[in-house]
């Protein structure tokens, strides 16, 4: 198979092709490395590539396969990940200047599980500094650029993951989502991503931002790939006490169940306030596709979501400030102005207000499930309500304009983090300007399978996820 044909495969398809010996692990790795090096100068998606290690591991994987030793469901699939998943003794920059030379203290559980499944990591990807930014700007490593239009933002904080998957330079990547950092790049870059239920995937060995809201999840070309990766990385972990002990469902097998009869909610309030008409039309067309597949679309009333966003912002800024307190005191000049400003802000949050924001969370989830998930199985909503801005338009340092821009960008994703519910994001179509538009499907806590199943059904009957940007 030619490199271009290999790169058009999803991770699931590539894994199958390797198992069936139609593609070698080395050929897949060479194709991924060549594409990554070809697109990086234009997209600035890479922080470090480990070509020799990647190729050596691919040779070993081919030898294993030749003697009948299949490591797991991702045997030989090349991947690069957001540079915040630690490997013991190896630098994880976390997109920062501060951690540019510090060897990581441990290996992330998510990476260990992908290694065991046979995936081969060949590099680490650009990201927002300390995962604290939703646009894809990075003032230390350079701003990440969108594969569909390099003048436009990728979304963040998993910026390099989003744009390199769109450019077919990696078959999948780990991201993280504290306020929208998986769903936003999936939306802006036209790919798929899943923010799992809070506690579903271990955070051990992943850079912390906000322990109350952080989630670890995959981005990939298809929802099927996301289901496969989630099945591999999810599950109890003694290294992360917040990790849920319940058994991990077979998310891939669950994809095969039809969605006829599934009740999909369309929010009457909040999510479509001031929504760009073209985005609203694309979302409406995607609902029509779900109807065609046999799902029922139900209009549902939303609770008052505004206070949750304020509460979530308090939690994120206060917890992030606690993690960064020592460096704010000793190395303030090593932060970009935007990230330093947001962290310093967290130092001013009163303890009682922070605790109230935590106390409110249980009640909010209870009320939301009673009001919404008693009537529907999934909530369908836009990820972002405005057209993809340029990097220049959103290149703000600090100040009131920054606060407004950041709040607007995460307005539709942050509620999912505060609720802690699973949310799958996938491409629903393109604007007339050729930019992708995503939808998000939110489900009850621990019903990640329902959101994945609906997303997969949509992709089986449409071809938006097959469209790729020009790479030259």
């Amino acid at each position: 198979m030619k490199p271009e044909a290999i790169l058009e495969l999803s991770a699931t398809e590539l894994a199958r092709a390797i198992r069936e010996k139609r593609v070698t692990c080395v050929a897949a790795m060479e194709a991924a490395l060549a594409r990554m090096h070809a697109v990086h100068p234009r997209l600035n998606c890479l922080i470090r590539s480990d070509d020799e290690q990647g190729l050596a591991a691919a040779h070993l994987a081919d030898r294993d396969l030749a003697r009948g030793a299949l490591r797991g469901p991702l045997h030989g699939v090349p991947m690069a990940h957001k540079d915040m998943y630690y490997r013991a003794g190896v630098v994880s920059t976390c997109g920062s200047r501060i951690l540019r030379e510090r060897p990581a203290p441990s290996t992330a559980t998510a990476l260990e599980r992908l290694d065991t499944a046979g995936a081969i990591q060949f590099g680490v990807l650009n990201m927002a500094e300390f995962a604290f930014g939703p646009t894809g700007h990075n003032w230390h490593f350079g701003h990440c650029r969108n594969a569909w239009d390099p003048s436009r933002i990728t979304g963040g904080s998993s910026s390099g993951s989003g744009t390199s998957i769109a450019a077919r330079a990696t078959f999948a990547a780990l991201g993280s989502d504290t306020g929208g950092s998986i769903r936003l790049p999936a939306h802006f870059c036209g790919i798929s991503g899943v923010k799992p239920t809070y506690g579903r995937v271990s955070r051990a060995g992943a850079m912390p931002l906000s322990f109350t809201l952080d989630t670890v999840g995959p981005l990939a070309r298809t929802v099927e790939d996301c289901a496969l990766l989630l099945r591999i990385i999810a599950g109890a972990d003694p290294r992360d006490p917040t990790c849920d002990p319940r058994p991990v469902p077979d998310y891939v097998a669950a994809l095969e169940r039809p969605i006829a009869g599934l009740r999909i909610g369309r929010p009457r309030q909040y999510f479509y306030d001031d929504c760009d008409p073209e985005i609203a039309a694309i979302l409406e067309a995607s609902l029509e596709e779900f109807r065609r597949l046999g799902a029922t679309v139900v209009d549902v009333d939303m609770p008052d979501i505004g206070p949750w966003n304020a509460a979530a912002t308090m939690i994120i800024t206060a917890e992030a400030a606690a993690y960064h307190g020592n460096w704010l005191r000793t190395r303030p000049g090593d932060y970009s102005a935007q990230v330093r400003g947001r962290l310093e802000q967290g130092l001013s949050v009163p303890a009682a207000a922070y605790l109230d924001a935590l106390r409110l969370r249980g009640r909010v989830l209870r009320d939301f499930c009673a009001q919404v998930f008693s009537k529907v199985d999934l909530l369908h909503a836009p990820v972002v309500s405005f057209p993809t801005p340029t990097i220049a338009e959103t290149d703000l340092s600090a100040g009131p304009e920054t606060v407004a821009m950041l709040g607007k960008t995460t307005r539709l994703t942050r509620p999912g983090n505060y609720l802690g519910v699973p949310a799958v994001s996938l491409n629903a179509g393109f604007t007339r300007a050729g930019m992708p538009v995503g939808m998000q499907l939110l489900a009850r806590p621990h019903d990640d399978a329902a959101a994945l199943r609906a997303g997969h059904a949509f992709q089986r009957s449409t071809d938006w996820h097959r469209k790729a940007p020009a790479v030259s």
Binding site: D304, A310, P332, A357, P445
Partner: protein, 65 residues
């Protein structure tokens, strides 16, 4: 709720935590903090006396399918 948080109080609070800050930034933090507190107030006003932070995990388990 009409909240007024001064940049001076923010400057002192950050200084007490060992973080140097200028007046312009402190003014921005004061405004943003007031907005956050005001924004969350309608939610926290409804909290029952006994509501605990750990209540979230119980609700998560209770609402799982």
């Amino acid at each position: 709720m009409d909240l007024e948080i001064t940049s001076d109080s923010i400057l002192r609070m950050l200084a007490a935590q060992g973080v140097a800050c200028d007046a312009t930034r402190a003014q921005g933090y004061a405004t943003a903090l007031a907005q956050m507190l005001k924004g969350a107030a309608p939610g926290t006003a409804q909290l029952a006396f006994e509501e605990e932070p750990a209540g979230y995990l119980a609700e998560q388990r209770r609402n799982a399918p």
